[in-house]
Symmetry: D3
Subunit: 286 residues, 6 copies
């Protein structure tokens, strides 16, 4: 697949064009199981920030390079040396409150980079395979559609490194699956769960036999979405995200206001008439 214009200067990610208007973002550090260094999440935040407003892109697929892992999460080896709280680190403050301030800022910046996936105005489909632990779950929770290969080994791994997950899993997982009992089970025990279990609780909506098959399915769904009115698609993502955190009353009002501009789009007329005339509609970029 061709590199996507404007996304070539990233060290840890490859961004290619999967099909017209479909971008493919690949975490690209397979030698280390795609484990994340700080530079990587900063890059990821930038990439999704750009995709969000890139008129050439209408849908995004996110996956990990290599056979073994979507991502093994935080690169613990590196974090144990470089993070604000690395055990051997000597240069930071010693005062508890001042350390807390650094930590708050560090966590907030990290969260923001990952949340960029959720805030991306274009739909994002994540495809996981192999090892998918810790940060892998935080990332997957931000995507719109979760598809996984049958060999995916999931774990909300954070309690095993002595911490409550703080990059989004605990904030989002309870709202995107259908069993609070299961959420507590996997988050409190850090136990592994597989693709079948992820499907049963609704965490993913498709499981495919291999990474290749999962990717193919994701590209197909992405292409389908990219063929629709981008005004309709992007509005749908925005309103669904808004709905999660607001009352039905608030959501209905917000939707009405959103559509008071969107329904004046040519896309509405184009699609409406195409439907009646059984023609394939063409939509302007957005």
């Amino acid at each position: 697949m061709a590199q996507l214009t404007g996304y070539t200067n990233f060290k840890y990610f490859s961004v290619t064009s999967a099909s017209p208007a479909v971008a493919h973002v690949e975490i690209n550090r397979p030698s280390k199981l795609n484990a994340f260094l700080e530079a990587m999440w900063l890059e990821m935040g930038q990439i999704f920030g750009k995709l969000s407003i890139d008129p050439e892109v209408r849908a995004v697929v996110l996956s990990g390079a290599g056979d073994r892992a979507f991502t093994a999460g935080l690169d613990v080896q590196s974090a144990s040396q470089d993070s604000p709280l690395a055990p051997g680190r000597k240069d930071g403050p010693t005062d508890t409150a001042r350390k807390a301030t650094l930590l708050r800022r560090h966590i907030a910046e990290f969260q923001e980079c990952i949340s960029a996936i959720e805030k991306c105005e274009k739909p994002v489909i994540v495809v996981t395979h192999g090892i998918s632990i810790g940060l892998a779950v935080d990332i997957a929770c931000c995507a719109d559609i979760r598809i996984c290969a049958a060999d995916t080994k999931w774990s909300v791994k954070e309690v095993d490194i002595g911490m409550a997950a703080d990059i989004g899993t605990l904030s989002r997982l309870p709202k995107i699956v259908g069993s609070a009992s299961w959420v507590k089970d996997v988050c409190l025990s850090a136990r592994y769960f597989d693709a079948a279990e992820a499907l049963a609780v609704g965490f993913v909506s498709q499981v495919h036999e291999s990474k290749a098959a999962a990717l193919a399915a994701a590209f197909k769904t992405a292409a389908l979405i990219a063929s629709k009115s981008p005004v309709a698609v992007q509005g749908t993502k925005e309103i669904l995200n808004h709905a999660r955190d607001h009352t039905v009353e608030d959501s209905l009002r917000y939707t009405g206001i959103w559509n008071s501009a969107s329904l004046q789009s040519n896309d509405f007329t184009t699609a409406l008439l195409s439907g009646i005339q059984k023609k394939k509609p063409v939509f302007e970029k957005l």
Copy 2:
């Protein structure tokens, strides 16, 4: 089934008595796959407003007439001519903000008519079959219990007519099923899904082999609910709806205040003693 007194002057709906205290509302435009004209949603709002406070009614079943469709949603042919934004319409304002105002009011009124099902103080069981797309999903989301025939063909169809669904699907669907990934999948792609899939994600809670069987099951559940204390049943609906949009803390307080009046009802004593004495209780109308 007999017409229900007071509901005979509706053109597009038949309202009958399915069993004591159980009303059956049928969308009645089968020649057009029960597709909705503006006059129809206005009627539907009125009907559920009346049922809400009708002391003769304790449970409602909603279904669509004919073999082919619960409803094909908005009558697009008609909407493309008559709606505030119909392509060929010449008489409205040309200013974008003024069009937006008309659209906001139009959407708000439309939403209110459909929300009347949710706000109806009596439980509503919806039974779907055949084509159930677009507005069909908005309507189903407002019902309390969703039962479907095996042949139901669902689709959140709106992106295919160039718009984000704005009559409630996007506001309610994420809160009534157990997989956000699935919600995004069906809402962004407008793809069809069937009864089995709807059951798997918890959108419906029963699937029956035919429309007749689904209706029979709905009438049975409705009759069961209608045999209970209406104070208990209507309080339960209200508190569950309130809970969806409030914190647990708020919901508990609201429940306590609600029951501070309701527990003084004769129904409580009647039911409590009937249980102890193994007798069938009889409750006053409400």
Copy 3:
């Protein structure tokens, strides 16, 4: 199992030590199907208040004594004589508003006793078997992880005694399972549902063939959780509970602030290094 120190003066509950740092709370009125008297919920509130801050305890299993029932819920016979609204009660106020005040206070106190399970800082795993109706569901909804024996007979029974459930089921059930249609179905009809149905909708996350097997599974999970950093585990419970009732934005911020203190714990270093060094970590009490 040995009595847990400090928990011997409870009449209706036995509190023992299942394994290091795992407490087992048993509802202990099997002759009456573990039905609840007012004294029992008051005791239960006290027990979970103590466990919450007991440094010897890192996980709790809650179950019911005897073969027949987790609990048959409220002891209706007793409630019909002693409660503020008992049919034959003569000593209370006659004024509706004054009765309402007594009821509000009574319900609030009752709710608080049951909510003590949810507020307990240590994870709580509930194991149900046999009859598990009315208050049984309110209690189960407060636990973090729900495991049940195959013979569990559940019912949200309250409408059958003429009231809307007011001790938490209606406030929590819609937020912990994945089908609003199912929630309305069981809450409005008071019908029984079994372990398989509870699993299918995500109400429980494990079903075992017998009470003994379910208990064994609960003890195993509890022991696993108790082996982890208590800072990480208790933070995870708190953040998940907070997430349920707040927006993702709010939850992320709260998490960052929580972890600004927690990540300064020795547990983080200990666990991080243990992981790298493949050693079993040991954590201080909390």
Copy 4:
């Protein structure tokens, strides 16, 4: 002043045209101190519903006919005979829960009629004089701008008739003035307060020496507002009302979406250029 077209069939209100695009609504039962019968609040709800979407109207002034009272509130004499809970009333239900249901519906409908002032898309300026008690405060709280004559005698009178005010005063007053201590003082004691006190706490923003002067000031402000872009004015009212009940974050987002349609209005260009060219702009109806 001339009757406003389309508002002549109201028995208890006169609706006239104060100046171009300014409607004057007058409570017109001076012989009874403008005390409210049920028919009156129903009429008031209808009037403000009509004004809300009447393109001829851009601002509304609300006042009371006669010298003595803006309104003495609920017509207690009438309420004590006709209301759902009138002491002598024999035809209603006797069951407490069923009475409660009737009361909830009655209060909700009453609230909705008064809230129509707040929901009116056009700004409403209320002018009070003389006796302004009970319902007078509920009504004033719904208006956008409160102006009073120096002789206004205010009282949140409801505790004196044995009830907590339930038509909006307790919900709105704490949010529209700057002293919670004062709010509690006047609401708990039912004591009278005068125009000067109302001004000091920010309840009203102007006091004038007489009803005539207060009305003149209101008409002047209304005319000023009516000379502005109705897109800008109505958007401002909506966003301010929304802001009251939402976080700043939510409000900013809502505002951005609102303006994404409104800024495309010709009004923006017209006003911008008029400002630069120092000309008086003319705006289309809305």
Copy 5:
């Protein structure tokens, strides 16, 4: 004034009867400027918990004994030795996260004791004089009505002891006065402000020349409130407190449900008829 029955076993507070149904709670450690020890806030929590449900009490006045101070706030001397974080304390945990847990629990318990004033179902009028700093403001913020003597010297003093105020001032002050700029000014600078300034921003609603005069005014208002229907008064307090933290929409609904029981009270009939018949009503205890 006579001791109030049931309130004699408090060491640091005197609780007397100011007039029929009016309790007077006095902070009683004048030798130490009424500075608070931990035992004192625990006692205060208990006292207001009792008053809340004491049928003999309909209004409460809270003040400080002695001439010099309402209260000088936390007894810093004592806190620097006994609190969980006392500089010289050796027995607690050394781990940051474990210290944080103790602090969270300590703060939560302290907050709850002070919040008992706000949660007290009966209205509370606070009267301040002289030194009123730190905790004095937290306490005053919880009262319903704030009256002060002209010599009151206020300060949100906490930043001067190196901490953000955490017992309620920062949570409540922004919601009970009318100038966010003033709130930030006094909270960030810890500067003193006097009675006149407190009145100007709406923090207090009355200033009197002396402590005696302020107390007299408070007793008069309390007696007036105590003469009203307790159903109406207590409902008014509850609904106003609820309104502060909810949308107007939510508050209106809550109010309607509250009144669906309260309006069935005899107090409503009694008060209504007394008003018509110009007689002084008598109300049952609550």
Copy 6:
């Protein structure tokens, strides 16, 4: 005053050191009445982002250069040529929905730059003088403390350019002053108001006779704040901002968690002992 290190590369702002740890940010385009170009709000966002985490800074004063204006708001001349909706602009999209998307993004970015003042972790005192209209109010609303010169001429000017203010005034003003009637009055009419009126409604907390005197007062307050524990001061700002948008219950919990780290600071011990020992405390940077 000396330039502040690291802030020299801004074209439209001068950033100097007013006194130890006090930064002075000056809008510096006096020849155009400090009217804002897009480049200016982008710069302002960057400056406050830097100040927020600059350990050399503990308090910030913001004012406008020159004698005539704090700022005349948006540079309308420039906006009418360069903005996404400039009347003569030809290069943008013509589709309404696509224009709306550009506008949403544009407004969101603009809002974010101004909100940087509110989000700045250090307290910000704004000093206004002369013309202070439109954007001036949006900016002032974000500051913590508002001080103005007697000659300040305020106006919420946006309706005069045909739009509802969308950079924050409508979202924040209702929450920071004590009269909703006044807020609606000035926002709907765009009329001017002076310093005295701003003080009376609590919009500003100090008025001084001249710009010089106002600045001097601001520097004095800033220096006072900068002399306090930065842990205490910054925690106070954060908690007050959080409180505005959350319930008291939520705010109390958030405060407890915040302080569970902050109270472990040396600042607490330092300040506590300094107070007891009557010494001037010295605090580490933050």
